[in-house]
Every structure is written in structure tokens, then in C-alpha cells.
């Protein structure tokens, strides 16, 4: 059963074609990632699915409803984390969650959400005293407090420190185990690699690759072996890493020599991404 279905989606801003003919499906219970550099059309696509923007062409169904014509009953079933946090500075964490809980027909208990997003220690702190990462976690809490079936996350961990990012990943995994459907956009390929069942890579408004992360990285065959020899870095690419590595180490052992800085890497989603998007990874934070 599909939670989201998108066919031939198009959207232009004046002369700029932000999204040009995008198709994809997201199944119920799936974690789906939209990847791509800035300006690739990720946010435009997600905001059309959330009901914020009107599309120029194509068919979109989210939870069986066209978001452009959806009302309160539909919004009751979705949760949203927008790209930038926006909240009342003068309310505390729990007050904020209680305010939003009141908008939904079957909210989760506020205390449970506070714990879920790891703000237990800050529950009575005013929003204006929270750090950027803590606000982002509250954002996630506000998206979850209505106990939605479907959750949209637009760059949910941008600006997190590595520890907070891992915590957020844990939260998202636990949501998935509850059977929630999650759509997230991200700059971080390790994030997509670890969280998403399937990803679609957007480039200039078109999907250039789609599938499970492991399947995408399998399209690049070579395993890379690196080590240093006499201060020089040696890089070998091979489809038979077991044999090559065995030969290398056997030789080194026989010569009583250490393979300095030995590293074996499988191609990652990052390599696929770089190849597909033709260049730089967005290092943008914020």
C-alpha cells in the first residue's frame, strides 16, 4: 500500500523549473530519503506534498488525498518538520508541546514526546534559552506530538553535533518500528545510508537515481584498498578484495613489513551521489 504517490510532478518559479517531471512512490511504513544539492528541488517537492505549494502539473496523492485540496482531517494525520525552526520564544518546552498537542485529535502524551526527543532535562526551559540543536529536537517533538501516520522531515539534523545526530537517528528508527512512514530530505549521505529504506537522488529538478542505498552503492563495483609504502600512498581498486588483500598481507608478512595506514573501503552512497550529481557535496550547515 502506498502512502505517497507522485506522477509527473512539475513546478516552476517564473522561468526557473524547480521540479521537472518527478515520479516516485513511498510505501506505508517506509523511510524514504530525498537527496540532492541545494536547488535540486527537494524542498519544493516536499512542500508540495505537505500542502504548502501548488503544483503546475502532475498527480500527487498523500494518504489517499490530494494535498492541494486537503483539510484539517488530513493534517491531523501528518507531522511536519520544516527546514527552519519557528516557535514561540516565551513558552517552555512542555507548554509548547501541549499547545500543539491540542490541535490534534489523538495526541501522544507530552511527557512521552519530551523523552522521545531527549529534552527531559530541558522540559521547563523557555524556548528562547534552548540551543539550536535543542530547538531542532523540539521541532521534531512538535511534529510527533499529534501521533501522525506520516512524517515529513526537511533536513532534520542540519546543525546537530554528532552526538545529537545519533540520538535523532535513534528516535527516527523507533518511529519506523512503530510503523510510521517517514519522508526526509538531507544533505548528509551517511544519514540517508543509515536511516532510509530507499532514496531518490534529485538533480536540477529530476530524479537521477532511486533505490535502496546499498543497491545504489553496488552500482560502483570497485572496492578500494589504500596503504602507505615508503611514504607513498598506494591506492588499489579491485572487484576481488579478498584475494588482493590476502596477497598483499601475505607478502608484507613474509617481508616482515607493516602495511602502514591500511584501509579497505566499499563505495558509499557518497561516491554514488558525487558521481550522479556531478560534483561537490553540499557542506552547507544551517
Amino acid at each position: 500500500m502506498s502512502a505517497i504517490s507522485v506522477r509527473g510532478l512539475r513546478k516552476s518559479y517564473g522561468a526557473l523549473e524547480a521540479v521537472r517531471g518527478v515520479d516516485f512512490e513511498v510505501q506505508v511504513g517506509e523511510v524514504f530519503g530525498l537527496l540532492g544539492p541545494n536547488g535540486a528541488g527537494k524542498t519544493t517537492t516536499v512542500e508540495i506534498l505537505e500542502g504548502y505549494r501548488k503544483r503546475d502539473a502532475g498527480e500527487v496523492e498523500v494518504l489517499g488525498v490530494d494535498p492541494a485540496r486537503a483539510g484539517g482531517a488530513w493534517r491531523d494525520r501528518i507531522g511536519v518538520v520544516l527546514q527552519s525552526s519557528a516557535m514561540y520564544q516565551t513558552l517552555s518546552v512542555t507548554e509548547h508541546l501541549r499547545l500543539f498537542a491540542g490541535y490534534y485529535s489523538k495526541p501522544r502524551p507530552v511527557d512521552e514526546v519530551v523523552e522521545l526527543v531527549g529534552l527531559g532535562q530541558k522540559r521547563d526551559e523557555l524556548v528562547r534559552r534552548l540551543s539550536g540543536g535543542q530547538r531542532r529536537r523540539l521541532d521534531l517533538g512538535l511534529a510527533l506530538v499529534g501521533d501522525p501516520e506520516l512524517i515529513f522531515l526537511d533536513e532534520p539534523t542540519t546543525g546537530f553535533d554528532p552526538h545529537a545526530r545519533r540520538q535523532a537517528w535513534e528516535t527516527l528508527r523507533s518511529l519506523r518500528s512503530l510503523g510510521k512512514t517517514i519522508v526526509l530530505t538531507t544533505h548528509y549521505l551517511d544519514e540517508a545510508d543509515r536511516l532510509c529504506d530507499r532514496v531518490a537522488v534529485l538533480r536540477e529538478g529530476e530524479i537521477v537515481a532511486a533505490g535502496p542505498p546499498s543497491q545504489l552503492s553496488a552500482t560502483l563495483p570497485a572496492t578500494e584498498i589504500r596503504y602507505r609504502e615508503n611514504g607513498r600512498e598506494v591506492v588499489l581498486e579491485t572487484d576481488a578484495p579478498t584475494r588482493v588483500l590476502n596477497e598483499l598481507t601475505a607478502k608484507a608478512l613474509a617481508e616482515n613489513r607493516e602495511l602502514e595506514g591500511l584501509v579497505v573501503t566499499r563505495p558509499t552512497l557518497e561516491d554514488v551521489y558525487l558521481q550522479l550529481t556531478g560534483g561537490e557535496i553540499d557542506e552547507e550547515v544551517g
Binding site: E50, G51, Y52, G72, A73, R75, D76, I78, V80, L82, S84, S85, A86, M87, Y88, T90, L91, E95, L99, F100, G102, Y103, Y104, S105, L126, R128, R129, S131, L142, G146
Partner: protein
């Protein structure tokens, strides 16, 4: 209806919490009423049928309160919420737009009602102004006026693209005006008002001291 009640409660909480709003739109008319009332309360205003200054001021400050709260306050809050993205976030929730607008409006009308009550009670206690006679008419015109200003305020937000700047308040207004009036209307010289001069100077010194002591380079409660 449930959502409306929930939003109204939330808006009242938000109103009470916002100190800037409370000072500039809610307290300021009351402060002016007390300050000006203390100076001119017992003067008679000929053009208004010899009514007492305090009574005249009371009506005027209630009018000022209506504009200050329903028009300026509401417009400022809506613009700030829109520009900071709060409205966009709210749109993703099941809260219907009419429930939101009516609840926001009602919270500001409630604030205005409290303001009117405070001015009437203070007028009675400080300046012995009697309770208004035509309560029905008064309530109706205040309600009509406040709703109309609020509508205008919401309309104005369509014109304002970015946040509104505050204009600083001048508390020693009474003394200042007294001297200005004396100099301009009665040919007095500035030194004929030693008491008022002292008050203005005292406010000035107080202000400068507070400014020096309280100056911060950074937002007060950030981080």
C-alpha cells in the same frame, strides 16, 4: 469549537508572557493616563462643556488603548509571527484559519477589556471619576471600535513586509509638556519651573544611569 477554545487559551497565555507587548501596548496608555491625569486632572476643558480634565483624559486614553492594543499590538504580533515562520508552521496543523484568527482577535479584545476596566478603576480611585452612565452604549462603541481597529491592523500586516520598530517612550512627558506649554502659551521662562525641571533632569539622569548599567551587546536571554 474545541480548537477555538484551545487556541484562545493559548493566545491569552502568549499575551501575558510577552513583556514587550504588555508594556508598549497595554501599560503605556495606563501610565499616560495616570501621569497626565495627575497634572491636568482638575483643569476644566471649556470646549468640552467644562468637563474635568481627568474625565476627558479617561475617554481619550481608552480610545488610545483601543488603537494601541487592537490595532498596533495585533498588527505587530501578526507580522512578527509571519516573518519568523510561526504562521507557516501552524498551517501544517489541523487548526483552521478562521478559528486561529478569531481566537487571536478575541485574546486582544480580552486584553483591551482588562485595559478599559483598569483605566476606569484607576480613574475612580485616583481622580474620583464616577462610573460611566451609559454602560450599554459604551460597551458597544468600544467593541465596534476595537474590532474595527483590529481588522485594520490585520489588513495593515499585508502592507508591512518586515518587523516593526518600536518608538521609545518618554515618561517625563508631563513635566516636559508643562514647561513647553508655559513657554509657548504664557510667555514664561524656563527657570520659572524649578520643580518640573528637576523632575525632567532626574528622569534624564535615571535614564542615563539605567542605560549605562543595563547596556548589553547581546540579546538579553540568548544562549
Amino acid at each position: 469549537m474545541r480548537l477555538f477554545r484551545h487556541e484562545l487559551k493559548s493566545e491569552l497565555l502568549l499575551y501575558v508572557r510577552s513583556r514587550e507587548l504588555a508594556f508598549f501596548t497595554f501599560l503605556f496608555p495606563i501610565i499616560l493616563f495616570v501621569l497626565l491625569g495627575s497634572s491636568y486632572g482638575n483643569d476644566r476643558i471649556k470646549s468640552e462643556g467644562n468637563v474635568r480634565g481627568a474625565n476627558f483624559l479617561e475617554a481619550g486614553m481608552i480610545g488610545y488603548g483601543a488603537i494601541s492594543i487592537a490595532f498596533a499590538g495585533l498588527a505587530i504580533v501578526l507580522v512578527l509571527r509571519r516573518e519568523s515562520g510561526v504562521l507557516k508552521r501552524l498551517r501544517a496543523t489541523p487548526l483552521p484559519a478562521p478559528a486561529y484568527i478569531v481566537a487571536l482577535l478575541s485574546s486582544f479584545l480580552a486584553a483591551f477589556a482588562v485595559e478599559v476596566l483598569a483605566i476606569v478603576v484607576l480613574g475612580r480611585l485616583l481622580f474620583s471619576i464616577g462610573a460611566p452612565d451609559r454602560i450599554g452604549s459604551l460597551v458597544l462603541i468600544l467593541l465596534l471600535g476595537a474590532v474595527s481597529f483590529a481588522g485594520l491592523g490585520i489588513g495593515l500586516t499585508a502592507l508591512i513586509r518586515s518587523a516593526v520598530r518600536w518608538i521609545a517612550a518618554a515618561l517625563p512627558l508631563t513635566y516636559f509638556l508643562r514647561i513647553v506649554r508655559g513657554v509657548m502659551l504664557h510667555g514664561h521662562e524656563i527657570w520659572m519651573y524649578p520643580g518640573s525641571l528637576a523632575m525632567i533632569a532626574a528622569w534624564g539622569v535615571l535614564g542615563v544611569v539605567l542605560a549605562i548599567r543595563g547596556f548589553r551587546w547581546e540579546p538579553v536571554e540568548a544562549g
